[in-house]
């Protein structure tokens, strides 16, 4: 533990000296303001314009009303079509994050404990799959999961089914696409989490007579709790906004909110409604993030309290 803590403390010490003003006479904070100004302009003006737009009714052909109205938001909250879209997006994202944690954590754990060049090689392979533009991956998935694809050839060849199993152009296909999209980053993040859990902790548990399963559930997972939740949250956020996977593996039949946003604005030119959809999606994701982080902090304090008892 002590060996692990030292570099962190050095980092913090270096950072603290970093922040002492005027030691070399350079006013570094002046560098901040151009970046703040540019980022502020790129964030605030477009977003404000967009939210303002969501408060206007669509008149067709890209025209919006002059009068302010909340009808776009009211429609999202009452029309079953939109409610279904939000529900679909939400449960696909939760399923993706949950499945990602379920397979991603053991994989990251194995990677961290194997160590050495094997782990580095595998980790960089995994990372590389997420750095290549997602469209290549989706074409591959279409070939694997399609009606005449690799899996169906095996299924039909072994006579497991009389007809090809439908795995794309439905929610299952989108789910697989989302897992492919989020899993590499999740594993990289979880790998970092596992690395902060000292092996000596596991050894101590084993010496005290804990089985591997008990060590996993009572030592490793509780220590990784914050990392698990934050990685899960990142996968959830990525899935909530995922557009390309939903289109190419949903075949236009799986209408998640990001797909609807693009259709509403580009195809139907209903700008007000598209803006309201977008604002609601971002707001919903934000609220869920706040709730999970609040839960994380509350739970953390409770656990510390229990330990003190």
């Amino acid at each position: 533990m002590a060996a692990n803590a030292n570099p962190v403390r050095d980092d913090q010490a270096a950072a603290a000296t970093n922040r002492q003003p005027g030691r070399t006479g350079t006013r570094w904070e002046w560098f901040l303001w151009p970046a703040v100004l540019i980022s502020f302009m790129l964030l605030v003006f477009p977003q404000a314009n967009f939210i303002w737009l969501s408060l206007h009714a669509d008149l067709g052909l890209g025209q919006v009303s002059d009068a302010l109205t909340g009808e776009n938001y009211l429609r999202l909250l009452t029309d079953p079509f939109y409610l279904n879209a939000f529900w679909l997006t939400l449960y696909l994202s939760v399923a993706t994050a949950a499945f990602g944690l379920l397979v991603g954590f053991p994989a990251a754990y194995a990677l961290a404990r194997i160590g050495g060049w094997t782990a580095s090689l595998l980790l960089s392979l995994i990372l590389t799959t997420s750095l290549i533009t997602v469209v290549v991956k989706l074409i591959g998935l279409n070939i694997i999961l399609g009606a005449s694809g690799l899996i169906n050839q095996i299924v039909l060849g072994l006579s497991l089914s009389n007809s090809p199993i439908q795995m794309i152009n439905n929610e299952f296909g989108v789910f697989i696409g989302l897992v492919q999209y989020t899993l590499p980053l999740m594993i990289v993040l979880l790998f970092g989490v596992v690395q902060t859990i000292p092996v000596s902790l596991e050894e101590a548990a084993t010496i005290l007579g804990a089985t591997r399963a008990a060590t996993y559930w009572q030592v490793i997972l509780p220590n990784a709790r914050a990392g698990l939740l934050s990685s899960g949250l990142i996968a959830f956020n990525m899935s909530m906004g995922a557009f390309t996977s939903a289109v190419l593996l949903g075949g236009g039949r799986v209408r998640t909110v990001p797909v609807l946003i693009q259709q509403t604005i580009i195809q139907e030119t209903k700008y007000g409604e598209g803006a309201a959809l977008s604002t609601t999606l971002v707001g919903l994701a934000f609220l869920i993030n706040v709730a999970v982080i609040a839960y994380l902090f509350a739970g953390g304090r409770q656990r510390v309290g229990q330990r003190a008892d």
């Binding site: 270096a14 477009p46 397979v103 533009t133 290549v136 591959g140 005449s148």
Partner: protein, 276 residues
């Protein structure tokens, strides 16, 4: 007894790891394999039924054009967002800033907004800008570059700041006490130390721009567009074997570039740390 339990416990997680690696690599292997298929019909099969380079010979010129556009856009985005990121990171890490955490959260906001929404937001903003000032960012690719910079800056800041926090200012003091000027100190002491972070930031900004589909789908209309969008459109409406050939070329070139960057910067530099 203990070794036996160890073995089964580790075996489960190792099996999952193998399955995950196969699962993640499979789409690329299938695309590369199918691109050499001799079939000419409009659906593809894997494993290939015969070897052929037909897919490569029939690559339409529009893909090369789109690839060039993507490259120019991504390079412009990488340079500008790295400059902004360098300024922000220097100010955040070295500066005497009140409310540092507020600024950090502020700079991270673009990552929280889905790409589709960013595309829609900038499309509407450019309409308004055109109506109000006559500046039309929807002609050409300047509008796309600006929107990509918005998305890429947080990645540049993260990469540079994580290296900058490890820099020891005593080195600067040493340089200055030996008579170096402020600029000389920065370029000869500070910058060489943070250069890997700057390059990693540039690399990530490039990747964000080059891989994007949703933002470009909103902001670039008409005949000419970026390579991923071109493939995305053809994938939906006009599938042909040359798409597989182009995808294979993208995957192979990306792999070479990523391996090159890893060699140059070290693997740790391009692994996203949690604090980013």
């Amino acid at each position: 007894m203990r070794t036996e339990r160890d073995w089964t416990g580790r075996a489960v997680s190792k099996t999952i790891l193998c399955a995950v690696v196969v699962f993640l690599l499979a789409p690329f292997i299938v695309v590369v394999g199918a691109s050499f298929d001799s079939a000419t019909e409009y659906h593809v099969t894997f494993p290939p039924r015969g070897f052929s380079l037909a897919g490569y010979e029939t690559i339409p010129f529009k893909y090369a054009l789109a690839g060039g556009i993507s490259l120019i856009v991504a390079v412009a985005v990488a340079i500008v967002s790295t400059l902004i990121g360098l300024c922000a990171a220097l100010g955040l890490v070295r500066g005497n800033v009140i409310g540092r955490e507020v600024f950090q959260s502020f700079f991270r906001l673009p990552v929280q907004i889905p790409f589709v929404v960013t595309g829609a937001v900038f499309l509407q903003f450019y309409y308004q800008l055109d109506a109000a000032t006559g500046v039309n960012l929807l002609n050409g690719f300047l509008g796309l570059i600006v929107a990509h910079i918005f998305v890429a800056v947080p990645y540049s800041i993260g990469a540079i700041a994580s290296v900058l926090t490890r820099f020891n200012p005593a080195l600067e003091e040493a340089a200055q006490s030996l008579g170096a000027t402020g600029w000389a100190t920065f370029w000869q002491v500070t910058f060489p130390f943070i250069r890997p972070g700057v390059m990693a930031g540039m690399f990530y900004a490039f990747i964000v721009s080059f891989g994007d589909i949703p933002v470009a789908l909103f902001l670039v209309s008409g005949e000419r567009t970026t390579l991923p969008v071109e493939i995305f459109q053809d994938m939906q409406f006009d599938f042909r074997p040359s798409i597989l050939a182009v995808s294979t070329l993208i995957a192979v070139l990306s792999l070479i570039a990523i391996v090159g960057v890893q060699r140059l910067l070290g693997f740790d530099m391009i692994v996203p740390a949690q604090k980013r």
